[in-house]
């Protein structure tokens, strides 16, 4: 997992697999960002993530909650075909704001 900052927004780029092995790391990363840096606007960049499962989805839901509770928000960028199809199956495509383009995901925060 890689974290970068861009104009007060954190971009968290997940690895090839977002499964039960790393879902706790994602939650922990987001929790720390909020608690330690005060950043509450986060883009999860799924470009490299060829495989996401229910644990990965769970970590995203948990992260969104933490951010919303802290008056922030979470956007998802560049989901692969596998991720998109899982979000649809689990109806999370109605819960997450999803962008095909990373820059658009980033600029989507500025309206707020």
């Amino acid at each position: 997992m890689q974290v970068e900052r861009k104009n007060g927004i954190a971009v968290v780029a997940t690895e090839e697999r977002l499964d039960a092995l790393v879902a706790p790391d994602l939650k922990e990363t987001v929790r720390k960002l909020v608690e330690e840096t005060g950043l509450t606007k986060i883009v999860i960049d799924l470009e490299k993530t060829k495989f996401i499962d229910s644990s990965g989805c769970g970590a995203l839901v948990a992260s969104l909650r933490v951010l919303m509770k802290n008056s922030g928000d979470m956007k998802i960028a560049r989901p692969t075909a596998q991720a998109k199809s899982l979000f649809e199956l689990t109806r999370l495509h109605r819960v997450f704001e999803i962008f095909e383009d990373l820059d658009v995901a980033l600029s989507s925060f500025s309206g707020k």
Partner: protein
Amino acid sequence: MIREMTVKIEAPAELMLLRSLNAFVRELIQQLPALVGAEKLINDLELVFNEAFTNVNEHAYPSEQKGEVTIGIRVGVNYLEFRFEDSGSGFDLEGIDDPDFDNPQERGRGLWIMRNLMDEIAYRSAEDGRNVLKLRKYLDYVGPSRHEA
């Protein structure tokens, strides 16, 4: 070439095995005539396998005392079947509700995924303390082996 076959794997229900087992299943099924090039279906089957293993890892046994799982992978003439057998607590499959889509929770999507992506799902807690989850997907058989089988 391809015939019916069954592979049986006995292993501790450790998270450490999740990705290697997934890799095994993926490599195996992508060679099946009915699945060659069927990326979406291969992904779905890998995901289902992954969910079932993760569930045994997370729910079958008390956390510090991971027990064993026996996994069966059966390539039938026109279907693929996964069996997950544990000797843990067991649960009531029929009693598990669909996820709450309007109020999304962190957990509770595994069985929904399995139910939706597979054609058959069955769970049995046997008297002897063995629980078996059976997941089956019918595949359009292509290739010569139907006749050989």
